[in-house]
Symmetry: C2
Subunit: 236 residues, 2 copies
DNA sequence: TTTGTAAAAATGGTCATACCTATTACCAAT
DNA sequence: ATTGGTAATAGGTATGACCATTTTTACAAA
């Protein structure tokens, strides 16, 4: 049994418009077809096209001008990747590297700030989460699951302790994109053991409120990923 | 003569729905009225309501479930502030502080990374921008402009040198929110002279590729803002 | 020829209504 | 008590008409 995928029309239209922008290599400021034309080309009703346009506008991909037309506003590969099958593997790896750098910045900062406010209870929760995670991974090992394991809950927990809702949101967004693009990476680079050990190092550093140690631990955790990306990019 | 504000209906509906969520203190998972009810309450057509819902959904404020209903997904004060007159000044200052902390993280990181890749030409552009900016400010001084001066181009320039498009986008978003909320802050805290001097310090540190100096310069620039926020919050 | 203005065409914004599809709850049959 | 169908509810889509703003066109005046 496989889950039946139900594609809503307005989302399909979003994809189509993005793919139109890409395949015609439209640049910022370029004009898109009119609502009526889009509707007739794609064989959907105008309200559906308008719903799709509102989604695109909310994501700042397009800019709609009353009486004038619909214009490309920003080419956002991160957003595009949510709607399009990935074309160029090299571009994908580049994005992944950019994401990893963002993670390095964010997770380091969050961990340092978290260390300033974390209660013993919260530290304990970090340890608990990590050990139960580790246990789960051991169990999963027995079934030979092929899909790459991507779980960023641990990192999110730290940002939650920090408590800045704006950065928490940012972090979640990064993770979402990370999961989307991660499959391109060689998963062997990051064994479960290394991963687990890295996490423990990070928690300990937070517990000791040791800024230097935090920076080192997070950096060592993510730098591996970044250099893996860099290496793969250069191979292509 | 004042510019006539032409409020598009679907945007007005977005505001109304947000204000409905706030005034009824809805929490995540709570259900909103049906599309048809919203349309009749607000006295607009259902397609307009749907367009507004698509905007809200794209911003992850709501979650629409076919056949089931419309549910609150996330309370995002940052997004809300774009649509609502700010109610509570204390909450606003708190948000501003969170934003400032985000800026501290982002601008420090961007400056350090920029220093690694900046060409002499780019460094020169930073100096040029800053001096021309400073000149403009001197001139503006003569006209007693009342509105607080908010210009974050300088910071954006640095992030551009770094070149990570994902973080650049994030930075722009922060700045947009910053401008929206900034008016609450006592502008006297940051005279043009201090500002200009801080910027020069930052450029010099980047030029010297001196990580410590960069951290110090950016931190000293933004910490002033953060502590101003903290002070004001405690007063309330 | 150039310029200003008004009409017309193009294009996004809104409305009303009808019908399709998914979810949920309820009730009957087992 | 469990199963399975059915109706009510609520979101999804389609049409076609009309409104509002912008751009273009056409023509008249200078």
């Amino acid at each position: 049994m496989k889950p039946i995928k139900k594609v809503l029309l307005h989302n399909a239209v979003v994809s189509e418009i993005i793919s139109y922008i890409q395949s015609n290599a439209l640049k910022e400021g370029d004009k898109l077809p009119t609502e009526r034309n889009l509707a007739s080309f794609l064989n959907v009703s105008r309200p559906i096209v308008r719903e799709a346009l509102k989604i695109l506008e909310a994501n700042e991909i397009i800019k709609i001008k009353h009486g004038s037309g619909i214009f490309v506003n920003k080419l956002d590969p991160m957003f595009f990747s949510r709607y399009l099958a990935n074309d160029d593997e090299k571009a994908l790896l580049l994005r992944l590297k950019e994401l990893a750098e963002s993670r390095l910045m964010l997770e380091t900062f969050a961990a340092i700030e978290a260390s300033k406010v974390a209660t013993p209870q919260q530290i304990k929760e970090l340890y608990d989460h990590e050990s139960s995670e580790n246990l789960n991974l051991q169990l999963m090992d027995e079934n030979d699951v092929e899909k790459p394991y991507v779980n960023l809950e641990f990192e999110i927990l730290i940002t939650k302790i920090y408590g800045n809702p704006f950065l928490l949101d940012f972090h979640k967004k990064i993770n979402e994109l990370w999961k989307l693009n991660y499959t391109a990476l060689d998963t062997n680079s990051f064994s479960k053991e290394i991963r687990h050990n890295d996490h423990i190092q990070i928690i300990m550093a937070i517990e000791n409120k040791d800024k230097k140690a935090i920076e080192k631990a997070v950096s060592s955790h993510i730098t591996k990923i970044i250099s893996a990306c860099t290496a793969l990019i250069e191979k292509k």
